[in-house]
Symmetry: C2
């Protein structure tokens, strides 16, 4: 058994969809969440820069003595998971492999679509992960850079969102995929419109549930889950001031977030942390 | 006379519209530009965080021995100009006051619209600056958070951009403003659609030209302009890898950018800079 917390990070607020599933699956566990709201978004930035940010955040969370880390950001999972695993001596779970496994499991036609940020799609991380499970599956991908701003603006069900989805999903619809991976934690909030454009025959895969299942498996295997009668505490850190995170975060988490603290990662680094 | 360069910074690539006007107005001057591409955008972030970023960048540029600093980002101008002026002993020019002066000059009806990021609009910086010049001018403002992602996506003339502009500008159109300040360096790329929505009777004000004029005045007054027969050199720094900046930057600057170097502001700080 380990009383340590589970660490989770995202570029901002989107990873709360993953946290929500972890709380549902493992209500007895403490969690520490970091949202890098001062530097969000990651999806438009280079792999080098995202790896640098991910290493800083992981250092911070590891210094808080976590037993497992969840990289809840698709872009960070896509480009930094190998580096983080090589550098830090704790189990690290990304959202790409769980989402890929789920897609490979549910597709009937063997034609899977993946949508995500430019960073995620250009890394080909989903395509590689799906092909590793089943090389016969055909993977068709599309970058959707406007989806994150649409969700942040709260435009999840208007004509602008509908038109934008129509443009981004055209190629995937024409490719007759039967499964579509929502490869960004913001996208589940656009599920309604994405379903509308893709049609009823297409199953939407959201990595959050599957990721929570993987986390439970790893902890169970290592005998590190807390007793089931416990009730976990949840701590939140952000790099910008908390106000915006609290407002949008409540929409994601569907309830009271509790206390959110601001952390200055640069100062943490200056005060003897690793860079 | 001073041979030192003019420093310019922006959250990303947008400030190049200001640089372009400075080069046109003062072709003999050297310039050093910094685009904070690893942390862009600023418009959605808190004043505290934007001030912190602005101070770091100004320290970096001042350490390169510039004679004047242009804050080419509307959000940073709106929230950090006073702090920067108090802290650094060189002339510092923002884009708000020049834009406000221009708007106050061209309006006939005394009804001026201002559009910008959430950070810029919530600061009321334009409203204060315009009212300081003429308290009788009525200022109507609107946040347009989707405009920056639209420009970055290259969607400056499609149905999504048209619909979005229609939503954001509705209130301003109904208020019958005769002048509209484009309070974000990205917006001039949406001029076509903004004009279409607002109609022919509305003059669009872009701060870039006016800011370049103010820079020339200050340098002339202090006797610090270089001889007119000189031809300035232009250096570029970014905080993410240069590739994306070079691609989008050429669209803004309308030509070859030259060499662009990456700088790690955190490392600069660790190496004995001020925080």
């Amino acid at each position: 058994m380990s009383w340590k917390a589970i660490g989770i990070f995202d570029s901002g607020v989107g990873g709360l969809t993953v946290l929500r599933e972890i709380i549902k699956t493992l209500p007895q566990e403490d969690t520490v969440y970091l949202g890098d709201t001062a530097r969000v978004p990651y999806g438009t930035k280079s792999p080098e820069t995202v790896v640098r940010f991910a290493r800083q955040i992981t250092s911070f969370l590891v210094s808080r003595d976590i037993k497992l880390l969840v990289v809840a950001c698709n872009t960070a999972s896509a480009v930094s998971l190998d580096e983080l695993k090589a550098e830090f001596p704790i189990p690290i779970v990304g959202v790409i492999e769980p989402g890929a496994a789920q897609a490979a499991k549910v597709t009937r036609s063997g034609r899977v679509g993946v949508i995500g940020t430019a960073g995620t799609i250009r890394s080909s991380a989903y395509t590689k992960a799906i092909k590793k499970i089943n090389p016969d599956i055909e993977v068709i991908t599309a970058e959707c850079p406007m989806f994150v701003p649409l969700v942040e603006e709260g435009w999840t069900d208007n004509e602008v969102a509908r038109l934008t989805a129509g443009i981004y999903l055209k190629k995937l619809k024409e490719s007759s995929v039967d499964t579509l991976v929502l490869g960004c934690t913001h996208y589940p909030l656009l599920k309604g419109i994405i379903s509308e454009v893709m049609g009823d025959g297409v199953t939407l895969v959201d990595s959050a549930e599957e990721t929570a299942r993987v986390v439970r498996e790893i902890l169970a295997e290592k005998g590190e889950t807390r007793p089931v009668e416990e009730k976990g505490n949840h701590h939140f850190f952000v790099t910008d001031v908390p106000a915006g995170f609290v407002r949008v975060g409540n929409r994601f988490l569907g309830g009271a977030l509790g206390d959110v603290y601001q952390v200055d990662l640069e100062k943490e680094l200056l005060q003897g942390g690793r860079v």
